[in-house]
Symmetry: C2
Subunit: 160 residues, 2 copies
Amino acid sequence: MKTLFTYNWMIREEWYKWCEDVPLEELLKNRTGGVGGILHTLFHIIDVEWSWIRVLQGKPDFQESFEGYQSLEKVKELDALFKKEVSSFVQGWDNGYENELLQETRQDGSVETLTWGEVMRHTIVHEIHHVGQLSIWSREIGKRPVSANLIGRGLTSLES
Amino acid sequence: MKTLFTYNWMIREEWYKWCEDVPLEELLKNRTGGVGGILHTLFHIIDVEWSWIRVLQGKPDFQESFEGYQSLEKVKELDALFKKEVSSFVQGWDNGYENELLQETRQDGSVETLTWGEVMRHTIVHEIHHVGQLSIWSREIGKRPVSANLIGRGLTSLES
């Protein structure tokens, strides 16, 4: 778990860096697919990551919309705020949590039972999937995307 | 490891199913970003997955190009062929393999040392990233993409 969360955080920082050279208009522009835009995608990733970690802890999740976060700085500030709690939860992850159960109410009111391991992996793949979308939009605006490679980042020995 | 490989295989099967309703011309069409097309992406995913598993075993990897696999059936046949060996390796994965070392020669001739755990996670994120790209192209042709959700697929209790 730790390796893949750490991988996602490294990649996310590189996308923030990538955004610095891109006009805000391009970052906010409506695009086809995903949640519909570059900065909105980054906002969505940190929203979803934090919300699931909150749900696992039995705490209220994030309810604000992207409307209030229309700049790179605001998104990065929100990330820094959420990262503390997310990082602390991930660092404290123990393989014994794998099969802890979470009762989750779906939007239609029905209840599903998930394991904590399932939720953590869902959160991981959620970010990687959306970053794949960013890579397409990056090429559309003629810019080289951030590399998605996991090898060569020193991501070894993080597993217990 | 087993959970995320299994997730990728489930998602991949759903993309093959998704492809069945799409004209071959659209599957082969050149697109912006990634490896440049839908079927080519699926071919690339199975090529890279198999090749890394082969490299870990010290066996020769896959050297053929997409030119010879220009139909959904051919890509699926190749997948079925490779899946046997990949699946057997993944099912036999033991946490003790995590820090086994692999000496890998880069294209420029230099050598890097990777751990097996790093290579396995690289292979996992490689597929999820490319599938994120497929989801954008799917919307571009007006079709709903395969869901990337990991929860709700019964992906529990696969870890040792």
